[in-house]
């Protein structure tokens, strides 16, 4: 048992922190990520990647979270790339090099309106016809959906919503006939889209996994996305705590810094503990998943529940302790507050994951 970073992992953390602090250009961000090798991190060396694991992704995402960087990393590398890593060699040869070079952005479309988030809850239908498939229905909150060159669409090819069997994943060119994309922002500044499919015809070779078997790989990828989100959350929550402590040392009322009041000190001590407990669950979930422990998925559920619960606790306290300034768009605290709030809403909320943890 060991929780220290290797020299290489530490170098990755340091370079990510320098990059984030160094004032990057948002327009060229993605190609800089490519040059730094970050887009290649999780892919096998045989496919043109760096063969790094979940710990490296965790290290990078914590720093991006700390910097409040808005990127399509989760959508393209973690979600889209996660699917490609599980697809057969033909898919990987065709798409990984472009992705790693920064020339291909992806999105994974799972979420549907009025259906509680869960891959097995997918209703969008893909009907077999003439050796291909016809897809009709709507996906919502497709992260990076407006910028993605290709969208991976989870659809039902048999069975009923709720069945793990009968799900298939299609690679969709968003310029295909019958596709309507409505781009929008998320509350935290990330980009997303609503995806409407009206009798979109796809050939059989757009099917990424054998028909009806997409559930398991999609679920694994969503687990990895929760780990990535957890790392980003730990980075963001660290800033929320640090900024709040710093603010309480400089903001004076009644002639003294407000941080000298015991009632506020204890609340900040609670924020600190909530953050460290989140970090502990991030390590538990990441290392258990990486090493294939039996209870890995339980730890992932616990982590996601905690991102919601502890995230809300820390972020709300951060705004409260900043007083009126916490309500403005000027301070970083407000932006991190919105990012943390968004994290609970993605991939199922805290209650849903706690219920899954209880059932596990």
């Amino acid at each position: 048992m060991n929780f220290s970073l290797s020299d290489e992992q530490q170098m990755l953390a340091d370079s990510a922190r320098r990059f984030v602090q160094g004032g990057y250009q948002p327009e060229t961000l993605w190609h800089q990520f490519a040059e730094l090798g970050w887009l290649a991190l999780p892919f096998d060396e045989d496919d043109g990647g760096l063969g790094a694991g979940l710990v490296e992704t965790m290290v990078l995402l914590e720093e991006l979270g700390r910097g409040g960087v808005i990127t399509p990393y989760l959508a393209t590398v973690v979600l889209g790339g996660g699917i490609l890593r599980r697809a057969d060699a033909g898919w990987r040869a065709r798409y990984v090099p472009d992705l790693v070079a920064g020339d291909l952005q992806l999105a994974l479309a799972v979420d549907e309106q009025e259906r509680v988030f869960a891959p097995e809850n997918t209703a969008l239908e893909a009907r077999e016809e003439g050796g291909g498939f016809v897809l009709s229905g709507r996906k919502t909150v497709v992260l990076n959906g407006d910028q993605a060159d290709r969208i991976l669409v989870l659809a039902r090819t048999s069975g009923e919503p709720g069945d793990q069997q009968g799900l298939s994943l299609f690679l969709l060119d968003p310029t295909s006939e019958g596709v309507t994309l409505t781009p929008h922002r998320l509350v935290d500044g990330h980009r997303a889209a609503r995806l409407q499919l009206d009798a979109v015809r796809l050939s059989a070779d757009t099917l990424i996994f054998p028909k009806d078997t997409a559930f398991e790989p999609v679920r694994q990828v969503l687990d990895e996305a929760i780990l990535a989100l957890g790392a980003e959350a730990v980075g963001a929550l660290t800033v929320l705590l640090d900024d709040t402590v710093e603010y309480s040392k400089t903001r004076k009322q009644f002639g003294v810094p407000i941080g000298s009041f015991q009632v506020l000190q204890h609340r900040m001590a609670d924020m600190f503990m909530a953050l460290e407990q989140t970090r502990s669950l991030l390590l538990a979930a990441t290392l258990k998943t990486l090493e294939g422990h039996d209870d890995a998925r339980q730890a992932v559920h616990a982590l996601k529940a905690r991102i919601g619960g502890a995230g809300r606790h820390i972020a709300q306290e951060a705004v409260q302790l900043h007083g009126g300034m916490g309500m403005t768009d000027e301070l970083a605290v407000g932006h991190y507050f919105k990012r943390i709030t968004a994290m609970d809403g993605l991939f199922g909320g805290a209650d849903q994951h706690l219920a899954a943890f209880a059932a596990g």
Partner: protein
């Protein structure tokens, strides 16, 4: 970064299990099951201490030269986990966890040679004379005075919340030896024999009707100066060292995990009006899951502390966190305990909790301990430096407020 368990530790776990299987007698196990506090029934727990001493496993955290085991941090954790799993009663901590380490750190060679072997063997039972009626969280304001008189100190005053003073034959205590200057700078650390003339011990009956705590009165009690640990007026240094040990040296998660598993077994036996079991009731399950995920996080916080210790690093603030989180979870688990038991938790049979007693439980045996444990657990956020004091330490030492 990895969670790999060294081969050596896996074998070690088997060795510990085998020893526990053959050594824990029915009487000792009964005392373990009926322990509703940090402090186990004296007779049985001292019998257990003697067995551990014979094996050489009584003080794994002590340096080897003084009777420790020389185990790695990982082995010590394995040992602690297995003790909890086997439901062995926890050893009385005042000698092994508190006084012993202080003597190792600050005692004279003579004091170490005399007292340490007697702590290990259980020949001496120690109690801790820190708090006073007017000095709780503000410990440095203590007033019990030790007047210098030739080769002796003469002590007058009183100590309170002295756990097991009525069972102990020794006390380590803080006394005032100087009235002027900073309060911390006039405190001295002493050892005394509880049979010294002038000492009166009055047990205090707790919410659970058990006289676990005491008040101790000192009326011209003579203590030889050779029983002083550290320098005169420098006892605060020794006391602080001990408090750090008391706070950072304990893992809470393994015991909490076992208690939650037991709670689930009990809930599975309770039938609800809908015909299902309480275990499957969504509200109950949600509360237990919230607690369980917090315990999972705490177990990794504790692993992080151990990993830092193994690497020779100071875990710093993380160890001050575990006292707060561990004790508050302990309280939540005991709350869930009485909620799960419902009216059964109200049946009050303190005599049935005495090991080897004649009283048969009126309800199921598992229901006996729930309320006593709940009542006793209210203390854990108060003792060892209240959780408010601990939050103050985090604010000051970690956040720099």
């Amino acid at each position: 970064m990895d969670l790999k368990v060294p081969e050596q530790e896996r074998h070690f776990r088997e060795e510990v299990r085998a020893f526990l299987d053959e050594s824990l007698t029915a009487e000792i196990l009964e005392a373990g099951r009926k322990t509703t506090s940090v402090f186990a029934p004296v007779k049985e727990v001292m019998a257990w201490q003697r067995l551990l001493h014979k094996k050489g496993w009584v003080a794994p955290h002590w340096p080897k030269e003084y009777g420790g085991t020389g185990w790695s941090v990982g082995q010590r954790a394995v040992f602690a986990e297995e003790l909890v799993r086997a439901e062995a009663p926890p050893l009385i901590p005042m000698g092994l966890q508190m006084c012993g380490p202080c003597l190792i750190g600050f005692g004279t060679e003579e004091q170490k040679a005399h007292y340490l072997p007697r702590i290990l063997s259980g020949e001496d039972i120690w109690c801790q004379g820190y708090s006073e009626p007017g000095a709780g969280s503000d410990l440095a304001s203590l007033k019990t005075f030790a007047e210098s008189d030739g080769d002796d100190y003469v002590i007058n005053g009183t100590k309170i919340w002295t756990t097991y003073a009525h069972h102990a034959n020794r006390m380590f205590l803080l006394v005032r030896t100087r009235r002027d200057g900073k309060p911390q700078a006039g405190i001295t650390f002493l050892l005394l024999d509880m049979n010294t003339p002038g000492i009166t011990v009055e047990p205090i009956v707790g919410l659970d009707e058990v006289p676990e705590q005491c008040q101790v009165f000192f009326d011209n009690v003579r203590v030889p100066k050779r029983n002083r640990v550290g320098e005169e007026n420098d006892g605060w240094t020794v006391a602080k060292y001990l408090l750090t040990f008391e706070r950072g040296g304990q893992d809470y998660a393994p015991a909490l995990g076992v208690q939650l598993q037991r709670l689930k077994q009990i809930a599975a036996r309770q039938t609800t009006a809908s015909g299902g079991s309480l275990r499957d009731d969504p509200v109950w399950a949600h509360k237990v899951a919230a607690c369980e995920s917090e315990v999972l996080a705490l177990s990794f916080t504790e692993k992080r502390i151990k990993s830092a210790l193994s690497a020779g690093k100071d875990p710093g603030a993380l160890s001050s966190m575990t006292k707060i989180l561990g004790t508050e979870l302990q309280q939540r688990v005991t709350e869930l305990g009485i909620e799960t038991l419902g009216s059964q938790a109200l049946v009050w049979q303190p005599q049935a909790l005495v090991p080897g007693g004649d009283d048969e439980p009126l309800g199921p045996e598992y229901a006996l301990t729930g309320m006593a444990a709940y009542l006793n657990a209210r203390a854990c956020s108060i003792y060892g430096g209240s959780n408010e004091v601990q939050r103050g330490i985090i604010a000051k030492a970690v956040l720099g407020l």
